[in-house]
Amino acid sequence: MTAIVEVRDLTKHFGKVRAVDGVSFTLEQDRIYGLLGRNGAGKTTLMSLLTAQEFASSGSVEVFGHSPVENAGVLEQTAFIKESQKYPEDFRVKHVFRSAPWFFANWNADLAGSLAQDFRLPLDRRIKKLSRGQLSAVGVIVGLASRAPLTFFDEPYLGLDAVARQLFYDRLLADYAEHPRTIVLSTHLIDEVSNLLEHVLVIDEGRILIDSDAETLRGSAVTLAGTAATVDAFASGREVLHREQLGGLATATVPALDATDRRAAEKAGLELTPVSLQQLIVRTTTASEEELS
């Protein structure tokens, strides 16, 4: 595996706010990453630093072995689709697609055309006349058809309906299978994308909390439910990620159990339920908040 992005001790502060706080990680070639975290966690700032739209306060960023700052060779291999991507208002949709090859070395006009049909995007309509969802579709299409070896999608779906989002995931997978590249999806809709991800980065308060293979995280925790006494007896000696109580009943989320422990838990009368990636991340990011306060 080849690392195409290397980030070391990266920090960015805006005044007193540390939006990104001493972060180190690598991104490997041809993988799909999830960059997950709450609002204001630092996701957009981090992606802006990687694409040289913001400058680091300290630390280093290398993309394809070079600093991305003022580096056209790196930037034409990189696409960054923002949540509210701006295009000149008087442009028509077709003008956006026609100017895209100036910025993206691997731009594929055929793909853009077929995606525009899939998303039912009127090519002759002016940008300012597009609905919120249609504007997002323009961004999604530019991101996919750029076929950039490093592509960032930052919450690209504002206003996109469920059908259009599914279309985006399907086309993303299909094109990725034919033309592998590194894709970073930043999103709140974790359940929707979790199966697409190979690797997950969770960021909170500017720090990386989780940097792990998605398959390792899946099934890494289980929730026990039963009477409070049984739950606590079984959970004692284990790391408890989360605990809730309702009268005499309690639930506790603990690291995954092996087959013997599962059987013991079931025999003790406990109900076991899996913890989805989304729940796991909600619990991890709320737990870190409790530690801080």
């Binding site: 993988r31 799909i32 995931y169 399907d170 997978l173 299909a174 990725y176 299978a177 034919e178 199966n195 697409l196 991800l197 190979e198 998605a214 398959e215 390792t216 899946r218 099934g219 289980v222 087959a259 059987r263 079931e266 025999k267 009368g269 899996p274 913890v275 989805s276 990636l277």
Partner: protein, 117 residues
Amino acid sequence: MDDSRPIFQQIAEQIENDIISGVLPEETQVPSTNEFAAFHRINPATAGKGVNLLVDTGILYKKRGIGMFVAPGSQARLVAERRDQFRTQYVEPLLVEAEKLGITADQLGTMIREAGR
């Protein structure tokens, strides 16, 4: 796909199920990694991991440049493995639930015979 286990294991299990039920007869080609990924809407690397799990255990074998095929003898082998697991996967949880409800082993036996009719 459920959340409790890694997806690659679930992919491997589904292929195994199709071999056991005869949907994928021995010596036939199984779908490609990208076809599995598109159908289940999962990452192709994850689908590939599931397929490779079965290559490692000899259930599937690779024909260079063509794809993955079901190895001869796979069906009988998988049936034997699943029979070994039947006790822990099905019988033991059944007994746990039966005991919770006060159903005796005799009553359980009667129920199974009646349901089988």
